[in-house]
Symmetry: C2
Subunit: 198 residues, 2 copies
Amino acid sequence: MSNQAARRTRSLSADKRAAILAGAKRVFLRDGFAAGSVDAVAAEAGVGKQTVYRHFGSKDALVEALVVGMCEAIDWSAPPDASSDPRATLRRELNAFVLGLSTPGSVQLYRAIIGEAGRQPEFARLFFEAGPKVIRSRVASVLCGELPDSEASEAAAILVNLALGDAYLELVLGITPPDPKRFERQIDAALELVLPSR
Amino acid sequence: MSNQAARRTRSLSADKRAAILAGAKRVFLRDGFAAGSVDAVAAEAGVGKQTVYRHFGSKDALVEALVVGMCEAIDWSAPPDASSDPRATLRRELNAFVLGLSTPGSVQLYRAIIGEAGRQPEFARLFFEAGPKVIRSRVASVLCGELPDSEASEAAAILVNLALGDAYLELVLGITPPDPKRFERQIDAALELVLPSR
DNA sequence: GTCTATATTGAGATAGAC
DNA sequence: GTCTATCTCAATATAGAC
């Protein structure tokens, strides 16, 4: 009967979809959402343009699928550790965060999100909720053991800000290349300021 | 002879030029450098499109003139004061900085600069040199009287970062509206951390 | 379901009237 | 020097072959 082809009435190739999204990532993060073209995405993905439209319907929908997918894939947290030293835990956590955010893909996504924030507030919110907000609360939860709850939230915000510090603004602006050592120094200085060792 | 018309061989109307730049500012900061059109600029400025091209030659040149002009016009510094209290001076200086950077025009310029940083590094550098870098050194020069020179530069960077804090990221992302009181609280907390009052 | 060829719109840039 | 009308090309989206 129809047991073979029954449920594949509208089945599109998952491989092609992934290839298109990969192409879209390269094109749109390099050229920007406005200047990047569907033609370029199709060429980059090695598929016909019509295939892109079959899968996503429009350029806007493709861009949205890309941004949503990248935001959902964000995971800048450090794996859990057995150590009970909160300073060491915070150092690992903050380090994983800045490294994740320093990735070329993350920097390009960050630029694109900021650049479109005035026109696409949903993208900005999605990114904020998936990234900075998560890190803040992870850091705050560690700090709750060390500081009064009333101070933990504010201290977490300070730590996260200082961990990024100047280095991140300069990285996003393309002034200086990524420098893990510089981030480590910023993190150590931040920890010393918020949780003095003596 | 030619003494009347001699030197106006290539004189264009300064009024029109200013009107075009004002229109370009509205259009490009609202729609982005890529999506904003010269037609829209001409309409916004109330001139013909050809006039735009007579004055600037190309869309790229127009965008560059706009960005350069806005960066050169940046002045987020506080006026000098007679007070000799470095904490009060720093508070005024940092407050003027965050207020200047919170202006709708500044936020939109910041977004556009970040969004194009991967493709237009010169714009990013121009902005950085005219804005953040200037504030850093102003703050550092005040701190030189309070801290060893070796620490003043780093402390200045920390102060500037904490003055912007979470509030600025959320403002740029369009998550929260501008809130001068929140900035003031961030500045006070930052000063207390870097220059404890007791 | 995927590709090639095409319709249509819009934007950058220019020619010519005044 | 400024505007109106136009050229040209690129990009979104679609139609039809396989």
